[in-house]
Symmetry: D2
């Protein structure tokens, strides 16, 4: 709910209303503007009715938030947001490629691939220590050991890192080891996880769920921003489809559709989005062409031996070739790689 104060309302009046809102158990937002003070009240709008703000002498109007996602919306925040992940700016002039294996398997494996990623121009290293797997009998990740490897390789190779977190209870742990959180598609509406990450200030890549509308994704991001963490990067990674020719349907139109609605940066993951190695490069180019701010690419020294997702993973040579081939598309899009 948005509460617009009358022009003559003072800062003291605004503070009093903020206290009132908090007193009934809602979360107040204070947005002083040039012409008017605007307040927000986050939570059950029914509770707000107890305050009868509509009839308050200093309140001009009480209205539902225009877009249901407010902090995420471009409406009140027209400029593109740039998020710094370990010193790498995402959302600016340069297309950021995040490469690495699906799973951290060993220090040797990760170091080799991290060097290949860096040499080819990748700027962030990805690698999973906690793996959400459809089957309980599939490899679940190395856990804390994987995080330690990730940190050590990051320090050695000089790439900041992105890694998935599955449980609110692990947020603090992952925070100590990685430069960015990843929330996977299956957890896009794991609201407790979003809230826990929202209490950190570390950047998070939030992947779109397989049945999530764009509005659902933006509302999920809103959970994180509403807790105080503005460093959210969205990621299109394919939605559920009916054709087994690809693993998912990579919905690239989500890129301009999100950018029309939100100021947050948008990545594309063509590895999960297609599920087929041969389609990763063409769809990576397409993602850059339609305005993505970066890419998430699975890379492994020998994809046939990868512990997970090998069929959609590039080897080091293929990744280097992709980076070369992407360059003219980045330039055509008015950006650098």
């Amino acid at each position: 709910m948005i509460i617009v104060l009358k022009p003559h309302a003072t800062a003291a009046h605004a503070e009093e209303l903020v206290r009132d809102i908090a007193a009934v158990g809602l979360k107040p937002l204070h947005m002083p503007g040039a012409e008017r003070v605007v307040l927000g009240a986050l939570g059950d709008e029914r509770i707000l009715e107890r305050l009868h703000l509509e009839s308050h002498p200093l309140v001009e109007s009480v209205k539902p938030i225009l877009a249901p996602y407010k902090l995420v919306a471009r409406e009140l925040h027209p400029a593109d947001t740039i998020v710094s992940l370990g010193g790498v700016a995402i959302g600016g002039d340069r297309i950021v490629v995040i490469g690495g294996p699906c799973s951290v398997e060993s220090a040797g494996q990760l170091t080799t691939t991290a060097r290949a990623v860096a040499a080819a121009g990748g700027r962030i290293l990805r690698g999973g220590a906690f793996k959400p797997r459809t089957s309980p009998y599939a490899f679940q990740g190395l856990g804390r050991e994987g995080l330690e490897i990730l940190k050590a390789v990051s320090d050695e190779v000089g790439l900041p890192t992105l890694t998935e977190v599955l449980d609110p209870a692990d947020v603090e742990l992952v925070d100590r080891y990685a430069d960015g959180f990843q929330v996977g598609a299956r957890n896009m509406q794991n609201f407790r996880l979003l809230q826990a990450i929202g209490r950190s200030r570390k950047p998070v890549v939030l992947k779109r769920g397989m049945a999530a509308r764009i509005e659902d994704l933006l509302l999920a991001a809103e959970y994180i921003l509403a807790e105080g963490n503005p460093n959210v990067i969205l990621c299109e990674r394919g939605i559920q489809g009916f054709d087994s020719a690809t693993r998912n349907v990579l919905d690239l139109t989500a890129v301009p559709a999100i950018k029309a609605r939100s100021h947050l940066p948008v990545l594309v993951d063509p590895s999960h989005g297609t599920g087929v190695r041969d389609y990763v490069a063409p769809m990576a180019k397409a993602a850059v062409a339609c305005g993505a701010d970066g890419l998430l690419i699975e890379v492994h020294q020998d994809p046939r031996l990868a512990w997970s997702d090998g069929q959609q993973t590039l080897d080091h040579l293929e990744f280097a070739a992709l980076m070369r081939d992407l360059e003219p598309f980045a330039r055509a899009a008015g950006r650098a790689l």
Copy 2:
């Protein structure tokens, strides 16, 4: 991975192999049978290769599990499972109707509705204390206070209770107050939550995700059983669809399709499955007709005033009428209500 031992392998041999499997970090399963001992090794199958079990003198064969979900599959467990939730048998001769409000709002509200549910023949009371909401600004549930109300009303009215849990950290708390856990569609692949519930022995209603294949649902259930909790009840509640005429597509064929594959009981939630009050009764009858073991129905004294999901909620009179109308369908299906 399934390891079938040779006929002359003794219990001592089996125990030794179980220790070997555990020693490499896999989870062993011990399934002594009439003719043979069968062992299971859950986890990354690559690791198992280190043991070179194929060439072990007492091992007859090592094979991947037939269905990827093993404990859940009907293959090795042909008889229907009956789960007792607070003394109410789900999966047996009687169709079990679970009714109640979407959200616990107050003791008065819940008591009134619980009495109406019980009077009409409902046998379990549902009510949400933790609500997963698409928007961070929607009512999120009363939390612990809601659980306390639920417990008090349960004691007073004499109905066991089912309530949703969102966070692994809340499992213990909810366990103290409710007779059954509910895992919602958005959390079907929140594997940490599934594992935490798997460490309890309390029944859990696991709802199918909006983009989940039946195999995905059964694998999610397998996470719970693999942790040791056999008391899983599955629930079809609608999948993502393309037609806004209904909130979701209630995929009733999932009922016979699940029963063909698994021994677990299956419920249907026509309230979420349709999202439209007028369609709840016809689809409840259809669910009973195609073999569902029970129903989840949202009931509220005055749905117009419900704090969530009012448009798909029955009032007390409508619920009583539904219960009367269901009876001949239950009988036609060879069951009682």
Copy 3:
């Protein structure tokens, strides 16, 4: 566009306006009512603007049709429509089961199955002479020979017949041999075919397309009614889904959702809707339970030998068992079989 005339407009005025509407190339509808005369103008609403009817002295209001489908809508036609197909009433008190093979293969095959269908209580015989097949190399039907067989068997066994038509050019031919047309899912928006059938008065079973919203189905039916054929029976037969556990997703909620919007009868085809023999019976019962007016069931003497769709076809014994098992569900639904 609906044109409501003022109370004092006479029949002569109405006729003049009808001529005006026709003169600009639109199709006029004349709907004299108790209080007012209402006119309709079907076609491009832009053209209508040339008449400037809003400012006509005898016109009270000009408005877009409430539901985009007008003749099909329950709004102006609240009572259920009963369509007689070869003397069998569809949409009334009795559930009508239409059984028979996917394809007409020979006179012998069809006679045997027709007798089995009749003996078990089926009331209409289905059988395809023109088969729309995904592959050009699959059996395409016997064509005219198939129609002749269908007619001969119908005469001999005494069941009216339903058969598919694929091409506007075949409508007249099929009209001579069969008692009802079937328009398949792939042709639901083959508008020329719909119009050709609309110029007949023979009943037509119109199947919902795999990606069709309920509104799309009703608008497709409207094409037929707008040409003058009111004898339309709708049919839910499964929509495109993401789970290969079933061939399609049988969207049974479409039954009450269509009945809320339209007065036309609704059938369900659980054979195509599930694609799996074992699921046909439970979903047939569910269809009856949620209000379907009848069923389309594929039956063959030996489904293993059927020239098409064998995996979803019942044999004669299974069909007879289904008919017996359906009876108590029909009764529970307040209907006879």
Copy 4:
């Protein structure tokens, strides 16, 4: 069914077998090759069994066709096919942009837009005379008059034309006026229409249906090639989706996925694929980046006044800007515009 003849079989032997295949009512294909003669028999494979070809002395093997689509498959035809539409090569080095209004409205309208399309570098003019509309009350196209306008404008402006055909009975008529047929998404499995077009030799743009798998699209194309028309151009135009943020889900991965399976050229229609004017340009660039051979773009002098699809139509300036902006992407893809 594919029948591979032994090396010493002569042309006379082959002809005899072709006659045998035709005699049992199947459609024979004769594919003389460098080393062997290969025959095909299209139709019900059961009938073929009567010929007992497996035991024929000159037959080496009888096998089901490898991919279910044979003529369309890259397997036996590895090189890319280039289709000439009115002298414009589609599938070669140059990206071909086909622009024009959704509907032909008048000679003036079409001439103005055709000139704008040509001036900006568009090479083929599109415009619908027969419009398949969801509602019978929407504008259905000018019909023959629209075709005459299309032809006249084509002659005047010097662009070849593409226009939709809806009915097998109209194929001959459209053939006289246009340089290429378009089969819309709703008619992708209107097999009689495909067959009628297959009997022409004029190029056809075949659009993917909203629920069609890539295999379904390729089999639909196979219907046309099997009738003798090799000039098929495929078109991705969006599949049915669950998010109303866009009209359809533009499945760009279909481009590399089709190219991996088939030698036919592939276009993309970002106008229908997105349904939103602002997303047309980014998705056109993405289509070029992932390997599309051309684009179908809706253009109108004043989209607000277009008789259909205005919300997804570019005006002349926007189209010219798109053409300029596409150029560096075409170059990055190693092609010209």
